[in-house]
């Protein structure tokens, strides 16, 4: 700035006359040497306003002078020169004043600038200071909020409640008088108490640990003792076996069975457990009412190889290896195998129908010491159970020819529950599996595999709802338990009814109708008609008979029934009776269809009395049931049929036009011969009066 000012000053100096400038410099020189003169100091003394007035005045004077000079000059003339000179001098003085004023202005400006600068610097410093302070404030505020937000560990500790604290903590920790008013102190005290408590608990824990250690050691010692005991016990057990056997207490055997049972598949296990439980319950019930009996009605056993069953549950790694091996093998041998596709399918079928190696054996003992042996199998891949049945009797049975199917494994349990013929798989999913390997129906395999009756599935706790096929069927204990008792009772009834039939058949085949003494009252003492034939006939033959159409049409001749033909004779009259024996005998009666050959062929379609005879044995069978469980029904029906034939023949009106006596003289006592629009004969026998009347 100073250089600038000097630059500006220089041309001024040049333009000026030089003298005053010279003088001035000189003066300044002198000032420096001797007397100090400072224009700067002078500036302070002068009033800028006045200077401004002076400046204005000077400028006006100059303008006036200039205008006068110009005026003079324009007027021209020699005398004017002096005046112009004078005026020039005056102007010069004014110029000097202007110059002085200019200098002063410059100094003032400089001074002002300096002052401004100084002030600005001051302001800057203050500003900086202010910012520092603001920053500091902000920082402190942040610190404060940080402090405020600080989460102390103690907040996470669950402390005991205040009341509890003041109640339990010793006074030297709680310091109630200090802490009551001061929450901080209170918290500290509570924390102290917590610490104290925890220390105590830690102490306790350590004690317990050591205690446990001690006990463990004790257990170890005792275990060692026990294991040393095992061989001794074993030897005792071994020694006690004969005693057990002698006393009929098969504890050991049962134990072994339960060991084996662990390897049973779930449905068989359910069956095993439930059947065992039911057997025990039965034994208890018996023993509570009677002196303890050793023979159980129901005994349960497991058959089959446990090792094979165990092998099924081996880790599947081996089998996977096997599979990959076999895959490789297959690749190699595809060419060889292709021609034997049938064999392959056969293998697949066999695999699908594979049984679990273990099976459950149920022996159901009936009253007459006959035993129903049931073997339950589980088909692993089909997830169904099957059963094979066998009946053994206490005494050897002479098997009548017609009784062949009665006790055969294939039919003895058929339709135990209505419609349950055990020829179809109960698991709806199986059909899809069969389709894959080309099995049409399970029917072809039941002889080998056993029958998959529905009740068998239920005993095993398997339930296959028809509406919604499920992916996983879980063996259900409650299902099995709920069906156990009914099924066992049905099985017993079935065996007994079959054995009873068996016995009856043996007599029937020899033309003897074995009426028991307690059923004798149902029939008159003298029965002339005789049973001469009792044979089994095929279902198809029955369907082909001309007098069985009604039964077939009514849906009473299903293929699960057994069919027989009886022939009753008296003189020239021959009465054929086609019999349908429902597997549900005797709750479902045998159904008779009759055809009488005497003076022409008479059936229910051309003789109302034949129809009435059928109705007597088929519909009024309830009075022929005899004492419960009415196993004698068939015999009684046949005997009734003989009586009915007697009545029919004896009451036949005599044809006056035919010579000679009646073939069948009336021996039965009848109140009336005919009754009603259809001229019914008196078929009803009245005990004990012994006469016949109409129903």
């Amino acid at each position: 700035m100073s250089s600038e000012s000097s630059k500006k000053r220089k041309p001024k100096v040049i333009r000026s006359d030089g003298a005053p400038a010279e003088g001035k410099r000189n003066r300044s020189d002198t000032e420096q040497e001797g007397k100090y003169y400072s224009e700067e100091a002078e500036v302070d003394l002068r009033d800028p306003g006045r200077d401004y007035e002076l400046y204005k005045y000077t400028c006006q004077e100059l303008q006036r002078l200039m205008a006068e000079i110009q005026d003079l000059k324009s007027r021209g003339g020699k005398d004017m020169a002096i005046e112009i000179e004078e005026r020039r001098i005056q102007s010069c003085v004014h110029f000097m004043t202007l110059k002085k004023l200019n200098r002063l202005a410059h100094i003032r400006l400089k001074k002002g600038r300096d002052q401004t600068h100084e002030a600005k610097q001051k302001v800057d410093a203050y500003h900086l200071q202010l910012q520092n302070l603001l920053y500091e404030v902000m920082h402190l505020q942040k610190e404060i909020t940080k402090c405020l937000e600080f989460k102390s560990k103690h907040e996470e500790i669950d402390l005991v409640s205040l009341e509890e604290f003041y109640k339990e903590a010793p006074p030297d920790i709680s310091k109630a008088e200090v802490t009551m008013g001061d929450p901080h102190q209170q918290t500290l005290a509570r924390l102290d108490w917590e610490l104290e408590q925890r220390k105590r608990l830690a102490e306790k824990y350590r004690e317990c640990l050591s205690n446990k250690e001690k006990i463990l050691k004790e257990i170890e010692v005792k275990k060692e003792y026990l294991s040393s005991l095992q061989p001794r016990l074993n030897s005792i057990m071994q020694a006690s076996l004969p005693v057990q056997e002698y006393l009929f207490m098969p504890f050991d055997q049962a134990h072994k069975q339960y060991e084996t049972a662990r390897h049973l598949p779930p449905p068989l296990y359910v069956l095993f457990v439930q059947a065992t439980a039911y057997g025990q319950a039965c034994a208890h019930m018996k023993s509570s009412s009677q002196p303890p009996r050793q023979d159980k009605t129901l005994s349960v056993a497991i058959e089959g190889s446990v090792d094979e069953a165990k092998a099924l549950f081996k880790p599947p790694e081996d089998s996977q290896d096997d599979e990959s091996d076999s895959d490789a093998e297959e690749e190699q041998t595809t060419k060889r195998r292709r021609p034997t596709l049938g064999v392959q399918l056969d293998d697949k079928r066999k695999e699908m129908l594979k049984r679990h190696p273990l099976s459950v054996l149920l022996d159901l003992k009936c009253k007459d010491d006959s035993v129903l042996h049931l073997t339950f199998y589980y088909l692993m891949n089909l997830n169904i159970m099957t059963v094979k049945a066998k009946v053994t009797t206490a005494t050897e049975l002479i098997t009548p020819i017609s009784a062949g199917d009665l006790l055969s494994p294939d039919s003895v349990l058929s339709c135990l529950y209505p419609g349950d013929h055990g020829k179809k798989t109960p698991n709806p999913a199986n059909q899809y599996q069969f389709d894959k390997v080309g099995i049409l129906t399970l029917r072809d395999y039941v002889l080998d595999l056993g029958h998959p009756y529905l009740w068998v599935q239920k005993l095993g706790g398997l339930h296959f709802p028809k509406e919604q096929p499920q992916h996983t069927v879980i063996a259900d204990h409650s299902l099995s338990a709920s069906h156990m008792e009914t099924t066992m009772k049905l099985l017993k009834t079935r065996v007994q009814s079959r054995l009873a039939l068996h016995k009856q058949f043996a007599s029937l085949e020899h033309g003897i109708v074995p009426v028991t003494s307690d059923c004798q009252y149902l029939f008159p003492a003298k029965v002339v008609s005789r049973l001469v034939k009792w044979v089994t006939i095929a279902h198809e033959d029955y369907m082909d008979l001309h007098f069985t159409k009604d039964i077939v049409e009514a849906g009473l001749a299903g293929d699960t029934n057994l069919y027989y033909m009886a022939l009753v004779e008296r003189g020239t009259a021959k009465l054929q009776a086609a019999v349908v024996l429902n597997p549900g005998y005797s709750s479902i009666p045998p159904i008779f269809q009759l055809c009488l050959n005497w003076k022409g062929e008479k059936t229910n379609s051309n003789d109302d009395n034949i129809r009435a005879m059928e109705s007597e044995v088929n519909v009024c069978y309830k009075e022929l049931c005899g004492p419960r469980p009415s196993h004698q029904l068939l015999t009684n029906q046949l005997q009734r049929l003989c009586v009915l034939l007697d009545v029919y023949l004896e009451t036949e009106s005599h044809d006056d036009s035919v010579e000679g006596p009646k073939e069948f003289p009336q021996e039965k006592m009848c109140l009336r011969l005919f009754r009603g629009p259809s001229r019914m004969k008196p078929f009803k026998y009245n005990h004990p009066q012994g006469f016949f009347s109409h129903r």
Binding site: D550, A554, G555, E614, N618, V619, S653, P677, S678, R679
Partner: protein, 335 residues
């Protein structure tokens, strides 16, 4: 058909299989038909529903079935308000107006004065005598009992038959009743004098006698001077005044029901068919039904329901065959 399996199903099937429908009666409105069977049940069928164009299988089943008697219901007739049913020695009256309601009880029951017997005699035939508002009952005790429907008292007993009575028929003009019985005689009774007027022993006439079938007269119908009867002897048309058989109808099987219809005689009996005869003895038609033997024919001629004018036939099955026109069986109602 699907095999039946449960004991109750089998028992019901057997019961149906051995059912015999003995009697029928059309309601006074002509829209309902009552049928009685050998188990003592009466079933009420709705003819109008079964004959309507939108009839379903259910409309061929009874509207209601109830146990009316302990023994078979051998005979039924309808008055303008009541259904009268009889069988096991008793006649019971049911109100047609209430019969369709569940749990309908009989209005009254009456038993004719029987001589005591080990067996209660059955009632085989009922006959209404509209002129004197009485009912004639006949059956097992070989007598005709007349009962006053007004008071319910038994007024007369007509004795003469030597065996039980099968059937009755009323002569329209004079108060005379015909009865046919197991003894082989048709007897004509005058109700005013309570005496037997005429006796025709059918089996004694060689042309209609069939000793191998027996003497019994199972059915009887009359129209002015003519009478037709059948049973053990052949079905024969008789001229009553002269007591001579005029036409013998060539039918081997014993007939159980006969009726005049316009210029025809309809008869049914052993065998599946309803036989249509000309008076001259010609067999005009044989229309097969569904039962192996027939016991009753019923012509619904109630003027109240002309749309239900049908012939219904029942017998030894649980079905009642309905003939909308005489030519063929339209359908069967079934118990």
């Amino acid at each position: 058909s699907t095999p039946l399996q449960s004991p109750t199903e089998v028992f019901q099937a057997l019961q149906r299989l051995h059912m015999t429908i003995f009697s029928q009666s059309v309601s006074p409105c002509g829209k309902f038909l009552a049928a009685g069977n050998n188990y003592g049940q009466i079933a009420i069928f709705s003819l109008s529903a079964a004959l309507s164009s939108e009839a379903k299988e259910e409309s061929k089943k009874p509207v209601v079935t109830f146990q009316a008697h302990d023994g078979p219901v051998y005979s039924m007739v309808s008055t303008d308000r009541h259904l009268l049913s009889a069988g096991d020695g008793e006649v019971k009256a049911w109100l047609w107006a209430e019969i369709l309601k569940k749990g309908c009880k009989e209005l009254w029951r009456r038993q004719p004065p029987y001589r005591t017997s080990l067996e209660v005699p059955e009632i085989n035939a009922l006959l209404l005598v509209p002129k004197e508002n009485s009912l004639i009952l006949a059956g097992g005790d070989c007598q005709l009992h007349t009962m006053d429907l007004e008071t319910g008292t038994f007024t007369r007993a007509l004795r003469g038959h030597t065996d039980y009575i099968h059937c009755l028929a009323l002569r329209e003009r004079s108060p005379e009743v015909l009865s046919g019985g197991e003894d082989g005689a048709v007897r004509l009774w005058d109700l005013r004098t309570v005496r037997e007027v005429q006796t025709i022993e059918v089996y004694k006439h060689e042309e209609c006698s069939r000793p191998h079938n027996g003497r019994w007269i199972g059915c009887l119908a009359t129209d002015s001077d003519w009478m037709v009867c059948g049973g053990g002897p052949a079905l024969t048309l008789w001229h009553l005044r002269s007591s001579t058989p005029t036409t013998i109808f060539p039918m081997r099987a014993p007939q159980k029901h006969v009726t005049f219809y316009q210029d025809l005689i309809l008869s049914a009996g052993q065998g599946r068919c309803v036989n249509h005869w000309q008076l001259s003895g010609e067999l005009k038609a044989q229309v097969p039904g569904s039962s192996p033997g027939l016991l009753s024919l019923s012509l619904n001629q109630q003027p109240a329901a002309p749309e239900c004018k049908v012939l219904t036939v029942a017998g030894s099955s649980c079905r009642v065959d309905v003939f909308t026109n005489l030519g063929y069986r339209a359908f069967s109602l079934s118990f």
